[in-house]
């Protein structure tokens, strides 16, 4: 309480020391390009700034007592203007589902779909190139622009892609697992929100959409895959994933959202 009866709050006092110190620093740094005299001046200012700073901190003048001025208007309650939405009221969960699948269902669906999905691709690799590694290596091309040395002949490129490469294998498995799990999670969240049968959406409509997208953009996203992909087996693989993931998700018991 101050002598004039007003409340006071202790606050740090104004000081020019930070400015002086900053000026000293900038002059020190300017010295190498302008003049070493500037650096010398900067050092002096630095010492003055630090001295003023420390001096203020160690003396009572470092703090001042601010008189309290008029405060804010008191906050008034606005009772009765909030009404929570409850089941049955218009607008309550009109669009969002009241029940949903647990996230684990989507993850499980994605992973199961991910395990079955490669089968058509691997069969294609075996039949066409006598190697299951061919589609695996192609998948790794999503993140590897120079997967195959373009100076090689077409036959040599195929031979390279048909061989087992540990790095590419790990990369392909990671890409496949991440995409499968992500899509599965998306299924788990989305399917209960879509009207009609989940199997139609998850097994047919969604694979159709992303297969069309893949067909359109494959040349940009993964040129290697675009050059060597067998579209029939690719499309079959997408539908295998979609149907499997949708079935796994749909069979899981829903929980309240």
């Amino acid at each position: 309480m101050a002598g004039d009866g007003r409340q006071k709050v202790e606050m740090p006092a104004a000081t020019v020391s930070p400015f002086v110190l900053a000026l000293g620093i900038v002059l020190i740094f300017a010295g190498p390009v302008l003049s070493w005299a500037m650096t010398a001046t900067g050092i002096v200012l630095l010492i003055v700034g630090i001295s003023g700073w420390v001096g203020q901190l160690t003396s009572p003048e470092g703090q001042i007592e601010e008189p309290v001025v008029a405060g804010p208007k008191p906050i008034e309650g606005i009772a009765g203007r909030v009404e929570a939405l409850r089941p049955g009221m218009p607008g309550y969960r009109a669009r969002l589902p009241e029940k949903m699948h647990p996230y684990s269902a989507g993850l499980k669906g994605g992973l199961v779909g991910g395990v079955l999905m490669p089968i058509p691709a691997l069969i294609f690799g075996l039949i066409a190139y006598r190697s299951i590694w061919f589609p695996v290596n192609l998948l790794a091309g999503v993140v590897l622009p120079q997967l195959v040395d373009e100076t090689l002949s077409a036959t040599e490129q195929v031979a390279y892609l048909s061989a087992f490469h540990p790095g590419l294998f790990i990369g392909a498995v990671l890409i496949h697992a991440v995409i499968s799990a992500s899509l599965g999670l998306m299924y788990g969240v989305m399917l209960p929100t879509l009207p009609g049968r989940p199997i139609i959406w998850g097994g047919i409509v969604l694979p159709l959409l992303w297969t069309g997208f893949s067909y359109g953009f494959m040349g940009v996203l993964n040129p290697i895959l675009h050059d060597h992909v067998d579209w029939p087996s690719f499309v079959v693989a997408q539908f295998v994933f979609g149907i499997t993931a949708a079935i796994v998700v749909a069979r899981t018991e829903q929980i309240p959202a």
Partner: protein, 569 residues
């Protein structure tokens, strides 16, 4: 009695501090001088976080105008093929100083300014943890910028790009002092950034109001906290790299000289280890601003607070591990290409979480499209579009095709500058009434918004096309037969549409300071603590430190029948 508006404070020095200076330090103060001198003295010596915040913002706006002028010069130069408004050297200097200014002297300071102003208020604190250090941070940032710009007076601005790739920065390629000014200016500014970051982090950790646990932090403060942690982590490597470069140029060391056993590649790694997290240093606070504004203008609590908060942490950590996606074309080993591509794609997940949470907050809300919310909508459209092209660039094969073309320029201007700029304008329109006691003029704000939005789309959209047509970035002119002219002219028209939007904002700020409607303490009927004090707040912010029980303390007070803490337990 306190003045009601910032204008009152400008007319007479801040009554609280000014009176205290008169009372306590009559022998050193200058209030007996002219009022203008007294005002300047007051602002020069202040350690009040709010005044420091305002000065940061004014500094940033000044540099923003400079960077904007440089951008306009570049756009006019590129209007015709073979144009010669400026020569190649001047053009190189323009894009170097434009990028440097936007990142270090406009972007970071304006965010530091808003954080300085808002964070202590949101925390229920009286000031920052280290008020004097706060002032040092401001002056170091400003003087560092002025030192860099002194290169114009010295006749040799740097012409190295804001990324300053080696060995272009070596003495034999850049003999003038411009690069030295650039290095030294950034070192001084870096001191300001680091001191500011330390201050903000300590303030959030130590000065929260009773009951404001970390899980109850306002989202803006939370995101500013993480952005400043990132500053503390990534500015030291940049500082080290700058000192090494200075040594190369001054003392003949050869850290980045490939012909003497050094590595130009090393500079890129050091620079981008700073440079990519810097993107999140700039955008995370904007995310925070958006996360504050959307709930207030949707009249709904934020959807999935925990997910928004945790996705910030995820972004901050992943951001440290993606820097080399700027370097796909330097010829890294395949495994590194693969890792950095995957990690860069990964960052889209927590970012997407935020976007969906904001949309879900708006969904079903009672939307109020006042100016802050308009800029939020602009932010989301820019950021989503730019983010999608970012995902494209994270895929190494695409990056190989468009690296160093105008596609990249269009991408990062949409996602980073568009995101940050729209977020900052949303925040400035949101908190201006708190800082000044006056409302900004809504009509002027809408003119500014639409000109900025249309201008931004038109400037940077066509750049994606000119980039895909093969136009390299940083060229000062181009041949007429490449099909780039039309797209460049569209971009220039976009820039010319944008330019008045900034002038309108400046005019609105100045006009509203005197003529804006009186704002009152809580003009938006908001929920965080800054709205619980006067507009503008007194120097001590709160007479009594408030106690907090939920994430929306003002909601609790306004709605005692249905307080948030009942639902948050």
């Amino acid at each position: 009695m306190s003045g009601n508006t910032l204008a009152d404070h400008l007319a007479i020095p801040y009554p609280n501090i000014g009176m205290a200076i008169v009372e306590k330090q009559p022998e050193t103060s200058a209030p007996s001088a002219t009022p203008l001198t007294a005002v300047l003295h007051d602002w020069l010596t202040t350690v009040d976080h709010k005044k420091i915040g305002i000065m940061y913002i004014l500094m940033a706006l000044l540099f923003l105008v400079l960077a904007g002028v440089q951008a306009l010069i570049m756009r006019c130069q590129l209007w015709w093929a073979g144009n010669d408004i400026v020569g190649p050297d001047t053009f190189n200097q323009m894009f170097t100083m434009h990028g440097t200014t936007m990142v270090f002297f406009a972007g970071m300071p304006i965010l530091a300014g808003i954080a300085n102003y808002v964070v202590p208020l949101q925390l229920g604190a009286r000031d920052m943890a280290f008020p004097r250090l706060n002032a040092l941070g401001l002056w170091a940032t400003l003087l560092g910028g002025l030192l860099t710009y002194f290169s114009f007076i010295a006749g040799s601005p740097p012409a190295i790009g804001w990324f300053a790739y080696a060995p272009l920065t070596q003495r034999n390629f850049n003999m003038g002092p411009g690069v030295d000014y650039w290095i030294l200016g950034l070192l001084v500014t870096g001191i300001g950034s680091v001191t500011g970051a330390i201050n903000l982090v300590v303030t959030v950790v130590c000065l929260r109001a009773p009951g404001m646990y970390l899980r109850r932090l306002p989202l803006y403060t939370w995101m500013a906290f993480w952005a400043n942690l990132q500053i503390l982590a990534v500015l030291p490597p940049l500082t080290a790299a700058l000192i090494m470069l200075l040594f190369d140029r001054t003392f003949g060391t050869h850290f980045f000289k490939p012909d003497s056993g050094g590595s130009a590649y090393l500079w890129q790694h050091l620079f981008w280890f700073f440079g990519h997290p810097e993107v999140y240093v700039l955008i995370l606070p904007a995310f925070g601003m958006i996360s504050e504004i959307i709930p207030v203008f949707s009249r709904k609590v934020i959807f999935g607070y925990e997910f928004v908060a945790l996705s910030t942490v995820a972004i901050a950590f992943i951001a440290f591990g993606v820097w080399a996606h700027h370097m796909f074309t330097v010829g890294m080993p395949r495994a590194l290409d693969m890792y950095f591509s995957a990690a860069s794609l990964l960052i889209a997940i927590p970012t997407g979480v935020k976007i969906f949470n904001w949309l879900a907050t708006m969904w079903g809300g009672k939307l109020w499209l006042a100016s802050p919310m308009l800029f939020v909508v602009g932010f989301m459209s820019m950021f989503v579009l730019g983010g999608l092209t970012g995902i494209m660039l994270a895929v190494a094969p695409i990056d190989f095709q468009v690296s160093d073309t105008y596609f990249v320029v269009g991408h990062f201007h949409w996602v980073l500058i568009g995101g940050t700029l729209f977020g900052v304008f949303a925040a400035l329109h949101f908190w201006y009434p708190k800082a000044t006691g006056r409302m900004l003029n809504e009509r002027l704000a809408r003119w500014q918004f639409w000109l900025l939005l249309i201008g931004f789309f038109l400037t940077f959209g066509p750049m994606h096309i000119s980039g895909m047509l093969g136009m390299p970035r940083r060229i000062f002119t181009y041949p007429a037969d490449r099909g780039w002219e039309f797209w460049n002219q569209l971009s220039t028209i976009g820039a010319l549409i944008q330019a008045p939007s900034y002038l309108i904002f400046v005019w609105n700020v100045l006009w509203s300071l005197k003529h804006g409607d009186i704002a009152g303490d809580d003009p938006w009927n908001a929920w965080t603590l800054e709205w619980a004090t006067t507009s503008p707040p007194p120097s001590y912010n709160f007479e009594t430190i408030p106690t907090v029980q939920s994430r929306r303390p003002l909601w609790d007070q306004k709605h005692p029948e249905d307080p948030d803490w009942k639902h948050e337990e």
